[in-house]
């Protein structure tokens, strides 16, 4: 890949709020930080159903799906998103991240299902951006 093409391909992220959870400041701050890092960010808006998040992730062909969830319903909603991605053959090459309040006990389970990383309170922006840069799927672009 020439340097020329690399500048044209940028990392695409979907920042998604799912379920009955109105706390979107974190999602906004992360959207903005990702944008300033040079990523293309698609923000889903509030109160999305898992199917809507899947629809957006598939159609937008994102490299990274960041699910922001503070309602405690992650054990119900996140698996439904992952299943949906699987239905469209999109799970394998999408980096799925979860941000929010997730108890340690639940983290392993989410990781097993296909979530790459979980960021809780106190995670720094730089840490997250570096993680995305490092782990965003290499595609045959």
């Amino acid at each position: 890949m020439s340097a020329d093409q690399q500048t044209e391909a940028s990392i695409r992220c979907l920042v998604a709020k799912v379920g009955l959870d109105g706390h979107d400041r974190g999602a906004h701050v992360i959207s903005r930080a990702f944008r300033d890092a040079g990523f293309e960010v698609i923000y889903s808006g509030l109160h999305r159903a898992p199917e809507e998040v899947v629809q957006a992730a598939v159609q937008e062909d994102v490299d990274v799906l960041g699910i922001s969830i503070l309602s405690g319903a992650h054990n119900t909603l996140v698996p439904r998103i992952l299943e949906g991605l699987e239905d469209y053959d999109a799970l394998d090459d999408t980096l799925v991240l979860v941000g929010g309040i997730v108890p340690d006990d639940d983290k392993d389970e989410l990781r097993e299902l296909g979530v790459a990383e979980i960021f809780g309170p106190g995670a720094s922006m730089d840490e997250m951006i570096d993680y995305v840069r490092e782990h965003a799927p290499e595609r045959d672009r």
């Binding site: 093409q5 940028s10 300033d36 293309e40 960010v41 889903s44 957006a56 598939v58 595609r139």
Partner: protein, 363 residues
Amino acid sequence: MSDGGGDTTTDLVEELLAGKHRALARVISKIEDRSPGYREIVSELHRHAGSADVIGVTGSPGAGKSTLVDKVAAAYRDRGETVGVIAIDPSSPFTGGAVLGDRIRMASNAGDMDVFFRSMSARGSLGGLSTATTDAVTALDAFGKDKVIIETVGAGQNEIDIVRTADTVAVLVPPDSGDDVQMLKAGILEIADLFAVNKADLDGADRTVQQLTEMLHYGERQKNGPADRTDRAGEDDATSEEGAGADPTSEEGEEADAWEPPVIETVANSGEGVDAFLTAIDDHLRYLDESGKREARQRSRYAAEIRTLLREDVNEMLERELEASDGIDGYVDEVLRRESDPYAVTEEILAPLRDCLRERREQ
């Protein structure tokens, strides 16, 4: 994580034509990134495209484009038609990053996979975006979408070029958007096939409608003047005269094949006026077919597309040629030393190409 490898060009095209959403999404990514192989894909898809109606929606930020597009897409779905949407948002000229927010407004079609909504950022070189948009429209068309909507902020030449590639161009105007001089700016009057004064429930909507209508009628008088002279001269503009014969809606006393852009009041939020908006689009599409203008538009569109590609490719070819011969610096040095000049350098580089083309032509 595995890469989505094995997506060979033909596989992707086949999967797209078979209706796989993931393949369509991946093809549009390839088009956007101009990754290796995208040209073959678009060439292949071109053969399967050409049946979709392409509608451009443009207007200033906050005019309500996304909300209206959402409602229009839902109305098309109610009619049993499938819809593709390409929403273009600006990207930061500093970091290249972008927040693409049009998707938030697509509430009516959430979960309906037959509305394929894709956000694109205005990244890359000037002119590159319009090529990418055209190619993405081709992909949606080949996928089998009945209607393809391009949504873009109508600011600047770049974006006007994009929206021009549509069959029907709708310009959204919010009420009270400045005095009537504002409407003379930026060429929006010229590109619009129809106007929607959105947020028509707000104060000032009537005045905006009135101002727009006045502007349009003024333009029409201007147009009719020369048209009368054309009749007398008898041979100018022969193609449009032919088109006029096939146009049953022509009224006497007017330039027979003229399309008068209607001004429609809409409240996209509540869905008010959306039906009228749809009818106006249908009317315009029918007008294009009956007057033969759709073909004329297609011709000029393809001509422009070929020209753009030629320009880009020749540029790229010459860049590579320069790189192969130690870059442009050597030539610049010569020019600096007054041993050569920019014209002579250009001639020197282009001479072999010119000779080669001449030989081929003479054969």
